[in-house]
Structures are given as structure tokens and as C-alpha cells.
Amino acid sequence: MIDIKDIRDTARDMLTKGEARAVIGYRRGSRGMLAEPAFITNLEQADELVWDPTCFHNLSLYLVEDRKFLAHLRKTANAPIAIVAKGCDARSIVVLMQEHYFKREDVYIIGVSCEGTGVVDERKLAPLLNGAHATSAAFDGDDFVFTTAEGEKRLPAREVMADRCLECRNPFPKEHNAVFGEDKTGRQLAEPFAALTRFEAQGNSARWDIWSRHFDRCIRCFACRSVCPMCYCDECVVDSISFPVTAETTAEDKANRIRWIERSAVRSENITYLMTRAMHLAGRCTDCGECERACPVNVPIRLLNNKMEREAREKFGYEPGASIGGSSLVASFLDSDPGDFIR
């Protein structure tokens, strides 16, 4: 069990010694039980840090934001930034470093092991609380304990955990500077890719029936993209919400943007968007599952990413976020890559 005091002490220590200019972690939000991202820059704030089953967020997103912010100000950092990272989050950080987004020494990773559990899935939890709303959530061994107006509710974590955590193969942040919690790599709460396997068992037309409804529902709020640390492009190729205009941008650059898809949130465009995103995350997605959690219309985006992840793993022996110096999935190849689909 992780003692939150350890995380707070580390944060305070880092800030006191000037070894970190900020600590990105989790704190209690204003909405019921949910934690929210916290940006700690002074010692008092360090006591706000929490670690509970609602610490969903892949905070490495904010490392990206931080770099963008610094780049915008044309500043360089005077000290690393510390970040609380779960296994999946730490792998994201590795991918970002693999892609030279920042250097290892720019980040101080305060690893947290998910140990035997993971984060809660609000959608699974709601029916089990019978309409009550939880005001806090806590780890307790293999259980989660929720506080509601009706009192304390203890539930086995496996019943309310997010699928991504159940299926997680590496619940421990291998890449870290400090780490808390027991390394329970190898724990198997569900088959890896279990949800994907269930989905894939259906036939082609059944899969289309389901996906076409999902694609119809997408409202292209781009939360999936916005919440994803890998979607750090200044301009998204499919639908720009932030065309990077710099001193080097020419009028021609602006005129020559390719409209791969239209802004209309209609099925064909939504498909192209979501499929492109899946392709662009192949070999980069570390299955933090934030895109799926953030989606306001419950599109199972994780399935798309999982599909790519499993192909990469099974066909190309590729694990995203395995090493900082590792090769990139789509920029590399092996002689043994499958080619039997080619005529």
C-alpha cells in the first residue's frame, strides 16, 4: 500500500532542494470523489496531493503542455519537472522521450505502482451505488472503499476497475526516479486484450453494425485527442484546431493545408478521424485509456488502439514505451514481418 505521505514528502523534498520547479500530481477536486490534476509549486500545496482510485489522468499530457508553454515563451527550464506516474503514464513518458519531446533529465518521475488494482471506472461504479454519489474513494488491498451519503461502501476492485487496468500487463512504472508501492508486474486480473478479444469474436458485419453506431455518435469534441499525451502535434493532420503559424509559415503553407476530412461531425468524417488517430497511435499508445474515459458519448476508442497494440505485439514483437532508445513501430521493420497478405 502506498502511503500518500511518501509522495507528499518526495514532492516537498524536490521543491525544497530546488530539484524540481513543479510537481504534477493529483489532488481532490470539487466534484464528488474525483481527483484532478494538480500543479504543485509551493510546499503547502504538497499536502494537497492524493493517491486514490480516481487518479485516472495520464499526467504526462501536462509535460507536453509544459514544453509547449516553454517553447512559446522561448524559455528553457531551469530545473526538471516532477510528475506522478502510473505504469501506463510512465510508458507514455518513455514514448515521448523516444520521440525526443524532452530529455530524460528534464523529468523526475515519481512512480506509483497500481499494485493489485488500478483506477475505477465510473460507469461500472454508478449502478453499484444505487443512485448515490460517492464523495471519496480509497484503495484498500484488493478493494476500493467509497464514501457516500449513505455511508461507506466497500467493493472488490475487480468489479469496478477500468478494463484497461484489469487487462494491464505492466502496472508498475519501470522508468522512474523514485517509486512507491509494490511491483506486481505479472499479476493477471484479466486476459490481456480481453475486451478486444470479446469484440473481435463477432463477425465482420456485426462489428460494422456496432462501429457504425459509434461513429455516428461521435461529436468530434476531440476530447480523445486533447487528453492524449501522444497527440502532441501542433496541428492535427485531420482537423486542425491549432494551425501552428510561425515566422517560417508562408501564405502558401496556410493555403495548402490538406482537408483530409471535413469539420462536419458525420459518420464518414468521424471514421476517418478515429482511424487516422488509431494509425498514428500505433506503437505509441501505452493504453492509459484516457481517450475512452474522456469520450462524452462512450465510443470505445480503446478497442481501436488495442487492436493496433496487439497487432504490433503479435506480428512485429513491438511493445510501446519499452525503452527510450527503442525504434519506432512504423519507422522500422523486420525481415520477418508478415507479408502473407500481399499478393
Binding site: D209, V237, E262, V266, S268, M275, T276, E311, R343
Partner: protein, 144 residues
Amino acid sequence: MSEQQTYEPRIVAFLCKWCSSAGSDLAGVSRIQYPANATPITVPCTGAISPMYILSAFNKGADGVLVSGCHIGDCHYIEGNYLARRKMHLIMQLIEFIGVEPNRFRMSWVSAAEGGKFAQVITDFVNDLKPLGPQEKLKKAERA
């Protein structure tokens, strides 16, 4: 005439300049006949084919998309077709995963010497596409 007989699938064929485009030239020189459904777009190398091209072609209403390049080991740019093989595998898997008929995407290796094979690849593709009918799943609606 049934619809299946009148329906002519529209194919976008991405051909690498050095092998498959040259192979299609050879089919021409050899006067090997094949269906006129595939419009070729010549690119330097299959390695230059972005998955976006495939998605975009389907988005714009292609019934089938073909990617054809040099055999493994023959790439003019040495490694381009290896990179393509991996990317195209992924995109093909993804297309199939969401329930699009896998036969709508095809990849082939056709060398500059394989005019006959080029014609066969197109013929087979057209034959495989005809029973599937028009591709509506990924296509931009005319007016929604």
C-alpha cells in the same frame, strides 16, 4: 441485367514508380487486357504511401484500394517496401476490424517484369470487389 453485372467498382491503385508502374507498362506493351476499373496513381515508392491515402480514397468513395510495389528485396530504395509492408498490414487490420470487407484493400508485389501478374492482380481485385457492391461504409455522404 442484374445490378451486380452493371456495377463497376472504382479502384484507386497506388503504384510504385520502379516496379509496379513499370509492370503495368509491360502489361500495356504486351497488350494484356484487364478491366478498366483501376485508376493508377504513381508514387516514388510504396514506402511513400501514407495510410492517410488509403483512408482518404475510401472517404472519397473508392470501392477498392490497391497498393502495389516491388518485391521484397527489390525496392529501388532498398527498404521502402519493408516499411510499407508494416504500415499496410496495420491499416488493413484496422479497416477489417471496424467491419469493412477486407477484400476492399489489397496489396501486391508486381515487378517491372510482371506485366501478366499486374493484369491478373487487377482482374482478381475487380472480380473480388464486384460481389461486395458499392463501398458505402467509409464514403462521404453526397449530402447528409
